[in-house]
């Protein structure tokens, strides 16, 4: 793996996004709009404070998952991936470059959405604001890593888009937001223990209710980061230079 080639690749990916102003605007504004809607529909109730933080982790996660999946699929279909694979670019340079570029975007998106929720919408959580922002950033990274990994298995845009309902919505159902994870049927609880989004939501729920939960939150963050690294490494490992 070469630092220069990884940075060159992430610069190139960011240049592509920069030329696409509408995508950039959607990336940064949509999570804020969704959080605003959420605050509005639950005005004068305690619900926004209760589910605001977990959903703050969820919306950017979904968006980054989709954007990353489509971006890597486009690289594959445009023939540029085939060209790159004939060049002295390591697989880790390519996947690492994508992870770095979208990781930066994800961090920016998470910081903007969290700040908007805390400062403008008055989201009130028991834990520290920096912790909320940290978890939001890590959740975004998880979306990026999952998109990088899964897009290797999609051969068409139709498939890539359907990976959202197929691989992300089940995680949403089992993550503890609808039914607390300890009240799920045993089999489903075991499954939810294996899914990264469960830990992302656990962390946000702890921040919501527990002022002294920093250690537990950081534990969940470590688990989610572990998933992020594993998915990126698997993404690089499943990339094949020679194809049928």
């Amino acid at each position: 793996m070469s630092v220069r080639l990884t940075v060159a690749t992430s610069t190139r990916v960011l240049q592509q996004i920069r030329h696409d102003r509408r995508t950039l605007a959607l990336l940064l504004i949509v999570p804020c709009v969704l959080m605003g809607l959420l605050a509005w529909i639950y005005q004068n109730t305690p619900v926004f404070d209760a589910i605001g933080a977990p959903l703050l982790g969820m919306f950017p996660f979904l968006i980054m998952f989709l954007v990353t999946s489509i971006a890597t699929l486009r690289e594959r279909q445009s023939g540029t991936l085939e060209r790159l694979l004939t060049m002295p670019l390591g697989k880790a340079d390519l996947i690492g470059g994508y992870a770095l570029a979208f990781g930066l975007l994800a961090a920016l998106q998470a910081v903007i959405a969290s700040s908007f929720a805390l400062l403008v919408l008055g989201l009130d959580v028991a834990g520290a604001a920096w912790l909320l922002i940290l978890v939001a950033v890590v959740d975004c990274l998880l979306g990026t890593a999952l998109g990088l990994f899964l897009s290797a298995f999609a051969t068409t845009e139709f498939q890539a888009v359907q990976f959202l309902p197929a691989f992300v919505l089940p995680q949403f159902l089992l993550c503890g937001l609808l039914v607390p994870r300890d009240q799920l049927p045993d089999v489903l609880r075991w499954i939810s223990d294996l899914l990264p989004l469960s830990y992302a939501v656990d962390a946000m729920q702890t921040i919501t209710i527990d002022a002294n939960g920093t250690a537990s939150v950081l534990g969940d963050v470590a688990i989610v980061l572990g998933f992020v690294i594993a998915l990126v490494v698997l993404g690089a490992a499943t990339l094949r230079r020679r194809t049928p």
């Binding site: 080639l5 060159a8 690749t9 190139r12 030329h19 004939t86 002295p88 230079r241 020679r242």
Partner: protein, 270 residues
Amino acid sequence: MVTHRSDAEPAIRVDGLRVVRGGRTVLPGLTLAVPRGQLIGLLGPSGCGKTTLMRCVVGVQQVAGGTVEVLGEPAGSVGLRRRVGYLTQDASVYLDLTITENLRYFATVVGVPRQGVDAEVLRVLGLVDLVEHAASRAGNLSGGELSRVSLAAALVGQPEVLVLDEPTVGLDPVLRRDLWAIFRRLAEGGVTLLVSSHVMDEAIRCDRLLLMRAGTVLADDTLQGVLASTGSTDAEQAFLALVDRANSAARERSEPETPPGHRPSHEAST
């Protein structure tokens, strides 16, 4: 970067190459050699295995058997990746980037030193005559301009071997002539070029021809040699003569004891 040592050794050596794609044998056992520093035309109808052969040479094709060596190393090996340039059939560049941004990235990837990237981008832009479009977005270019950007991307880093898959397809005659002039200049500079085309009249531009059909090489010769051996006046006629010859040879092999023209009537009806 272009070296003239061991000129006798071919630039590309293919031996018993077998490729199966989607259950279909595309290359049943191809053997050929491409000499160094020459402009080689890989001609044949679409679907005959030209792209598959080129993908093998640049090391992105899964191979079922045989060997492919480029500049004495196994195709696709790490050391070759900056010595071999590849142009895919579609313009494989980023449409949402400018020409300069595209070429800067590819130049960095092939290992051009940081301080030399700008000069290298300018050099390849000059070769394909796109200097004045450098700041244009690739997606806003015409088809001909776009294919020249893609060619420029294959030229960065001065590769010793260029594998160009149908670089002139769909281009107007003036542009085609200009591109062949570029290829000729590169060959004169010592670069080995393997250029595919399904337009037979491009044969006159090449030093040697590889005529392919159904995954096999029908002829590996100069244009003069091919014309002389078939008694033809142009490449297309020669190709058709070679196809007829190959077909009748195949028929004789499958029915060895029945001379052509004396078939039993029951076989003719099946």
